[in-house]
Symmetry: C2
Subunit: 290 residues, 2 copies
């Protein structure tokens, strides 16, 4: 099923989210407006707003709180990307130069803070403190997930289980929140809400695993984002964890040593990529994501 | 009048803010807890919490919302410092290594986000949406001020008036908010609230001007923070704007050229520092701050 078909019933609402993004982020400040335009003109998948809208619609919701919540979530998600791209020194996102690569790390950090505050303002405006509370808990988990991942860079005791915990925090819990928030707005039953929240969580985990597999893909043009940066930054993801366990002793030692010296150059990264692909790690990871 | 005397009537409450900071920021995550302890063990001036508490007390407030608001404001302020220090590549703050210099830029960025979300959670917990709304507007202004300052780096058309506008946004409006929030909690009259808000704004402007003058001071040991970084980062502050206007044509051209080449080394910075001091710019700036 194509994304367009899934989005069919909410096409109009997604367009309204697009307009709301422009309107709520509008700034008198020339630089802010310039960067906002650059970001909002890029075609986005609006995956998280769609989860909010579809979940609310499950309860036949016809009120006016779903668009603002969907908008706020997209703003928060994008703000985390501005900061992630600084943290990962990433140059490419959605096929375009990142904010940090175009305007510098400082501007990317502060613009992220600015977008965060705009998103929270949307949620205070519609007077749904429950949604705001839930979202703040989620942001807290995202940050802890990110920090834990940063801390565990270059650490080869990192297990698949620990990887999955971090993925739940840093990616999946926001998608789960989208479903829960939509269900809450749509006044679904606790059982229905739980089912949707679980769906969002599983979708988020799958999404991140696929994203981590893409880091081992061939060309940036195909994927539209900086590739191999996880390796260069010493970040251990599922394909590499699997490949390490599957590798022969010599190869495993070599990978471990390159990481421990914290000197992984592009040649090493390419050699590791080949090992990962040959180990069957991508198949294994994608099966996990199913 | 010493700070201790001013703080006399609220000494117990400030101690409670200190405890609240530890409790609300407490994390199960080892790394977060380690950095939190590092930050919270540093002696802070608690200037912003004190403004909240003293303003609320002006209305003889005896409720339980002033401590959480004061705590939230201190957390927000510290989160902005984590991010500022990344933006400015600062190594020293309150006489100690900054989070970015000790744990890296990535961790400093995400820890700032984490602290922001904790502060907002405190404000949703005490159910004062009005305070949260006001604070979000202020954070918005802080971000815009920061972005504007970043944009105007190395730009010699930057005027004293524009400098003062940025200072109002990036520093003074948070202090003004502290007074307004305290006044709102203490149920002061609109007139009293306005007076306190103005006081906070003026204090904030003065505070930032003094801070910018300190950047031209002699030794980091005395000041406890990275010095001269404004110059090295191409940031034009009041002393330099004044000195440029007062300088002879040759000196002004040389400063302008060094900035335009964006290659200001430590020697250049020292030469500029001497010019600034000899021009009377520090006296002029400090008179502005009075």
């Amino acid at each position: 099923m194509k994304l367009e078909e899934i989005y069919g019933p909410i096409r109009n609402q997604l367009r309204m989210v697009g307009e709301e993004l422009k309107s709520k982020l509008h700034s008198e400040n020339e630089l802010v407006q310039q960067i906002n335009k650059y970001i909002l003109d890029m075609p986005g998948k609006y995956l998280r707003p769609a989860l909010v809208l579809l979940s609310a619609r499950t309860g036949n919701y016809r009120g006016d709180k779903d668009i603002p919540v969907a908008t706020a979530v997209e703003i928060i998600h994008t703000a985390t990307l501005f900061h992630d791209d600084v943290v990962d020194s990433a140059n490419l996102r959605r096929g375009q130069p990142t904010v940090n690569s175009k305007w510098g790390d400082g501007i990317a950090v502060v613009l992220g803070d600015h977008w965060y505050s705009r998103a929270f303002s949307i949620l205070t405006d519609i007077k749904t403190p429950k949604i705001l509370e839930m979202l703040l808990e989620v942001i807290n988990r995202i940050c802890v997930g990110e920090l834990e991942q940063l801390k565990r860079r270059y650490d080869f005791s990192f297990t698949e289980q620990e990887y999955l915990e971090i993925v739940e925090n840093k990616t999946a819990c926001l998608m789960s929140f989208c479903c829960r928030a939509g269900a809450w707005i749509g006044e679904l039953s606790p059982g229905q809400t739980k089912s949707l929240a679980d769906y969002g969580l599983n979708l988020g985990v799958a999404f991140q695993i696929v994203d981590d597999c893409l880091d081992f893909a061939d060309t940036e043009e195909k994927v539209g984002k900086s590739l191999g940066s996880d390796l260069l930054e010493g970040k251990l993801t599922l394909p590499l964890i699997y490949a390490m366990n599957a590798a022969n002793k010599k190869d495993a030692e070599w990978i471990k040593n390159s990481f421990e010296l914290r000197q992984i150059n592009n040649n090493d990264a390419n050699r590791i990529k080949i090992m990962v692909k040959q180990s069957g790690a991508i198949d294994y990871s994608l099966r996990k994501a199913e």
